[in-house]
């Protein structure tokens, strides 16, 4: 195995991952040799324009994709399929419409189990949904439904929580509130987070490290360490400075090969 000593700190290790979609019109190179090491408890945001393969990368990490090159190691073990050690929050809440909030969180586990009951109640408090335990998904707002989805993903104590633009469909105020809820969750549980977004503010507000991706083929363009102390204030000068750094990373001239691409 190639798990050498300097890999030991890597909780999640993405190695040489490439992915090509074969469509009727031909092959699309979605990801090209992506490498990323994530430490335990880190909050990583993946940011890039649409089509840069960030969602595809997330699905590969979740084990929801097959037919890629390279490998993903979670705690040194190769990811071969989806499982409860990898929590996933989709773009849409994807709740079961026939289950109440608490039963959606429990999903296939029984609420009669006192341990499950206790944990579900704790999570409902954590994502601030007290009073809505018995509500059905149709009675919830978009933000509330997404909080249920986050609680559902957290119930099984995943080693890593993968979030695929979870707040993309929400309005600006709900989104800001959700970001605070998520940071709250992260600071309480210290779950490793891999968060895909196309919103620079969101990336800067949440992450320890911001991974910037470029499209065609999707690959990592740069990584910025974000050591601003929490809680962060979007209006502060330091926040704006970090935002500026991310932006300038996008505008930095590319290597010659990629520059040809940009000119097209």
């Amino acid at each position: 195995m190639r798990v050498s000593r300097n890999d030991q700190s890597a909780h999640l290790d993405i190695r040489h991952v490439s992915k090509t979609f074969v469509t009727q019109k031909g092959a699309v190179h979605a990801l090209d040799n992506v490498n990323l090491r994530v430490r335990e408890g880190e909050f990583i945001t993946l940011i890039g324009p649409s089509g840069c393969g960030k969602s595809t990368l997330l699905k590969i990490v979740a084990g929801l994709d097959d037919g890629h090159e390279g490998e993903v190691l979670l705690e040194g073990r190769r990811v071969t399929g989806p499982g409860i050690d990898k929590g996933f929050v989709f773009q849409e809440p994807r709740l079961f419409p026939w289950l109440t909030v608490e039963r959606n969180i429990a999903a296939d586990l029984s609420l009669r189990d006192p341990e499950v009951r206790k944990r579900v109640d704790g999570l409902i408090g954590l994502v601030r949904l007290q009073g809505f335990e018995k509500a059905y998904p149709r009675e919830l707002s978009g933000g509330m439904a997404q909080r249920v989805a986050i609680a559902r993903a957290l119930l099984r104590s995943p080693k890593v929580l993968l979030l695929d633009e979870p707040f993309g469909a929400l309005d600006a105020f709900t989104r800001a509130h959700m970001q605070e809820v998520l940071l709250d969750v992260w600071q309480t549980n210290r779950t490793t987070m891999l968060f895909v977004t196309h919103d620079i503010d969101e990336a800067v507000f949440l992450a320890n490290r911001i991974v910037i991706m470029r499209p065609r083929p999707g690959s990592i363009r740069g990584v910025i360490v974000n050591d601003l102390p929490y809680p962060r204030r979007k209006a502060s000068a330091a926040f704006q400075e970090m935002r500026f750094r991310v932006l300038s990373e996008f505008e930095k001239p590319e290597e010659p090969v990629a520059a040809d691409w940009a000119g097209l």
């Binding site: 989806p82 499982g83 409860i84 990898k86 929590g87 026939w98 296939d108 059905y136 149709r138």
Partner: protein, 306 residues
């Protein structure tokens, strides 16, 4: 009715709320005086919501047309405009109904018919549900069973009825099996469609949450197919009840279908009408039952209510 008259009365004196103590609207504690009375929705005494019409109004609205038809029919029959042999008047039918009920004859026939329909439904719908689940869940079962089932589906009741009598005799078996054949298909097809209509995105969720295969069926496939399954139950119940006539017309000495065909042979048209009314009544009762079932099982849904 009362509410309509109330607003009609209200509009005439103009906007003078609180002046007319006879009106229910003004006694409502939640209705502050001074609001535009013309915009006050129609309300009936003791009504909780002001958007839903009262139960009385609903019943009244639904019975206008039948009442008109029955009234016209009775008059036309009395005046000799229509043949009372072909169209016995509603009163004659009612008399016959009462006579059949008090004579006990009706109950015997009804009970026998009911047992046949129930047995046929349980057998047919049970198998329909089972095969629907099987074919819906397993691709291989679909490929090997569905074509055959679809072929059998297109064979009409009346075509196989004589064969069923030959095979199973003129006893109860042939009747129950004929009803079962009819009840099988609606539930089979709807269960199958319901399962295949399950949202693929939710299957992805189930994979991520590590559902076992059994949990996937119990917690995802069946609940999401439930609206279709209940639709199938409703249709199957209807078909079972309708299949009864065919079954009892072939060779029978009892049951509502027999009662009707026997009456037809002896020109006892009122009895035929009683039979028709009974079929309609039982049909409504069955529908109410399925609706209650739907309300219990599908209360998570929010549909367009018109």
């Amino acid at each position: 009715m009362a509410g309509t008259i109330g607003t009609a009365v209200r509009r005439k004196p103009g906007p003078e709320p609180g002046q007319n103590p006879d009106l229910e609207q003004n006694r409502d504690p939640d209705r502050t005086p001074g609001r535009d009375p013309g915009r006050t929705p129609i309300r009936e005494p003791g009504q909780a919501s002001n958007r839903e019409p009262g139960r009385l109004t609903v019943v009244a609205l639904g019975s206008i047309l039948p009442a008109l038809v029955l009234g016209g029919w009775q008059i036309a029959g009395d005046l000799g405009w229509i043949s009372t042999l072909l169209f016995p008047t509603p009163l004659t039918i009612a008399e016959t109904f009462v006579r059949l009920v008090t004579g006990g004859e009706l109950w015997t026939h009804l009970r026998i018919s009911f047992v046949r329909a129930a047995l046929g439904f349980l057998l047919g719908a049970g198998l329909g549900l089972f095969f629907g689940l099987l074919v819906g869940l397993f691709r291989r079962a679909e490929r090997s069973l569905d074509p055959t089932i679809q072929m059998i589906r297109m064979i009409p009741h009346l075509a196989v009825a004589p064969l069923f009598v030959l095979w199973f005799g003129i006893g109860e078996e042939s009747k129950v099996l004929l009803i079962a054949k009819g009840a099988f298909f609606p539930l089979y097809i709807n269960t199958f469609l319901g399962i295949r209509g399950a949202d693929n995105k939710l299957f992805e969720v189930a994979r991520v949450l590590g559902f076992s295969r059994v949990k996937q069926v119990l917690r995802l496939v069946i609940p999401s197919a439930m609206p279709n399954i209940l639709l199938g139950v409703r249709l199957s119940l209807g078909v079972a009840w309708l299949g009864l006539v065919v079954a009892e017309l072939i060779a029978s000495t009892s049951g509502i279908g027999y009662m009707m065909s026997d009456a037809r042979q002896f020109n006892k048209t009122p009895v035929v009408f009683v039979g028709i009314i009974l079929f309609a009544l039982v049909g409504v009762l069955v529908d109410v039952f399925v609706r209650l079932l739907e309300r219990r099982l599908l209360h998570w849904r929010e549909g367009y209510k018109g």
